[in-house]
């Protein structure tokens, strides 16, 4: 379903009329409308897209209506919105990244959202958003995944998670697990799905440890690593078990 369809399916008449009018308005009015959205579109979930709210969807639709014929003017307009945004506006801007023109221009901004400590802002770039998988450098991608793990957020909601698994990230996850274990803390079992293609002796030792874990989820995660990997010593663990 396209974004406009998604909006029209749930919006009431006055919301539809207001948005249509503002999408057609000249630029300054469009930017002011972006700020004013909650006065005209109420904050309620989008039924088919539970991560989004109607006001956020309206904001994304306004952004897609900004003319992209002049790159400098376009970038300046978006940057101004970022610079003066409140929390919900920031979340809307990051949600909109995959729909904006000149996608490479927003790489730095997107990494700023990963650095954010505001939950809704971080979530807007991290979860269900195709932008990071498509445009992040490996370092930025790894930072996104590790920060999720560090903060006990569900990595399974990251778009393209398995496609962008890499050896550095597998190494970092192992290091992180050692640190947590040394502190008497735990690591979410779901992180181990990122390591099967990058197994080595260190990770093998981690998998052995997991197989002995009192947590059923840990043991199951270790078994899945052994099944998914081509690393013989790990496959062997299963035969011996």
């Amino acid at each position: 379903m396209t974004l406009p369809d998604l909006f029209n399916e749930t919006a009431i008449e006055s919301e539809k009329a207001w948005l249509a009018q503002k999408q057609a308005a000249p630029m300054p009015a469009k930017l002011a409308a972006f700020v004013a959205v909650p006065r005209f579109v109420s904050r309620r979930p989008v039924p088919q897209q539970p991560d989004w709210t109607m006001d956020r969807l309206a904001r994304v639709l306004l952004l897609t209506a900004i003319p992209a014929d002049d790159e400098a003017a376009y970038v300046k307009a978006i940057e101004t919105l970022f610079d003066t945004a409140e929390m919900q506006e920031l979340a809307a801007l990051y949600t909109a990244l995959p729909y904006l023109a000149f996608p490479q221009k927003w790489h730095f901004r997107a990494t700023e959202a990963v650095r954010s400590n505001m939950g809704p802002v971080f979530d807007a770039i991290a979860f269900g958003n195709p932008y990071p998988a498509q445009y992040f450098t490996e370092a930025a991608w790894n930072q996104l995944v590790l920060k999720c793990i560090f903060n006990d957020k569900p990595i399974t909601r990251i778009h393209g998670l398995l496609d962008r698994a890499n050896a550095t990230l597998a190494h970092d996850i192992s290091e992180f697990a050692h640190e947590r274990w040394a502190a008497g803390r735990t690591v979410p079992a779901e992180v181990w799905q990122l390591v099967p293609r990058f197994m080595n002796e260190t990770l093998l030792a981690d998998v052995k440890k997991l197989l002995q874990s009192p947590s059923k989820a840990d043991r199951e995660a270790a078994r899945q690593v052994c099944e998914a990997t081509d690393y013989n010593a790990a496959k062997q663990l299963m035969y011996n078990a």
Partner: protein
């Protein structure tokens, strides 16, 4: 404690909010500890003036525990003048961004007022630039007024930017939160009201802050809202506040803490409510001056939905960010302050 005492007496601080220079700080009086919380159990409070950027997470927790469900953070100075436009911008952005989020983690709804404070209005070149910035923030969600603005030194520059911001408030149809000066308070309060009327503002849209026994009558008579700041040593004490409410009744009166980076008390509103209970002020009157009047005054912005905080706020787990600042990974959000062990 002794060292602290010496430090403060040898380095007298210019107080952040009020100081009536003829007012001598009261000597500490030994009191029997009172479990004041028992008197306000189940009550809800709204603190319409508090500078949370200067307060700790312990304060937020204590405020939530004492029944504060919502607050307003007026834009203010930092204790020293800013030197550039970008720091103003970042400050305003933090009021509608990080601070709003931080507050939400404790189940407290955070609103703010946006404005150029009177002290910094005296740097005219910078103030001109700030005036251009203000409309970008005045229309934001959760911005419930233009404030705190008004007079400090009562200079010509202060008057100029006070007037300009009254025009902005009119244009945006937002309430105004007026800071009244520490020196020449009576005169400054009268002048602030006269200028607001001259600009055609409805006094019902203007909250005159930091009142005392000397200013309250005129403020109420002219139809403005009268806010009182309970701030140790330099402003209203809560015993005096009880008497003001007894004398004038609860109409158009509200209590706040104006807690900031000075020696102040973020629990001033619930403590004052408890004292009112103990001294026989009616529950209805207490509710008006510690909750409802502030909502009625600032809800004229169209930006306050009482449903957002009237029922105990569910702290949205998805909005809980276990980052390396507030809630560390795996830690329960609530810290046991009395425990020796930090896990």
């Amino acid at each position: 404690m002794y060292i602290m005492h010496c430090t403060f007496s040898s380095l007298p601080m210019n107080p952040s909010h009020a100081q009536d220079e003829h007012e001598v700080p009261a000597q500490p009086v030994a009191e029997t500890p009172v479990d004041y919380m028992a008197h306000i159990k189940g009550m809800r409070f709204f603190d319409p003036h508090i500078h949370m950027t200067s307060r700790t997470t312990d304060d937020y927790q204590a405020m939530a525990d004492a029944g504060i469900v919502a607050l307003i953070e007026p834009a203010f100075w930092l204790g020293q003048p800013r030197t550039g436009l970008a720091t103003f911008k970042d400050y305003y952005a933090s009021l509608v961004g990080w601070e709003r989020f931080r507050s939400s983690q404790f189940g407290i709804k955070h609103y703010c007022t946006i404005g150029l404070n009177s002290r910094e209005a005296n740097n005219e070149a910078l103030a001109e630039e700030v005036m251009e910035l203000l409309p970008l923030f005045a229309y934001k969600e959760g911005v419930v007024g233009i404030g705190e603005i008004g007079f400090d030194d009562q200079t010509a520059a202060e008057e100029k930017f006070y007037r300009a911001q009254l025009e902005l408030a009119k244009e945006a149809n937002l309430p105004v939160q007026i800071h009244t000066p520490h020196r020449n308070k009576k005169e400054g309060t009268e002048r602030s009201m006269a200028i607001a009327l001259e600009h055609g503002l409805d006094p019902g849209m203007v909250i005159v802050d930091h009142n005392n026994e000397e200013t309250v009558k005129s403020v109420l008579d002219r139809g403005f809202w009268a806010a009182f700041t309970i701030y140790p040593f330099t402003k209203m004490g809560n015993e005096r506040m009880v008497e003001v409410v007894r004398q004038y009744g609860p109409g158009r009166i509200m209590v706040n803490s104006a807690a900031d980076w000075g020696i102040s008390d973020p629990l001033a509103v619930p403590k004052t409510a408890a004292l009112m209970v103990m001294r026989g002020i009616s529950p209805d009157a207490i509710r008006l001056v510690t909750y409802q009047n502030a909502i009625d005054a600032f809800a004229q912005s169209g930006q306050i939905n009482e449903a957002d905080f009237a029922t105990p706020m569910l702290i949205d787990q998805s909005e809980k960010f276990n980052g390396n600042t507030i809630l560390r990974g795996g830690q329960q959000p609530r810290r046991d302050a009395s425990s020796l062990l930090i896990k």
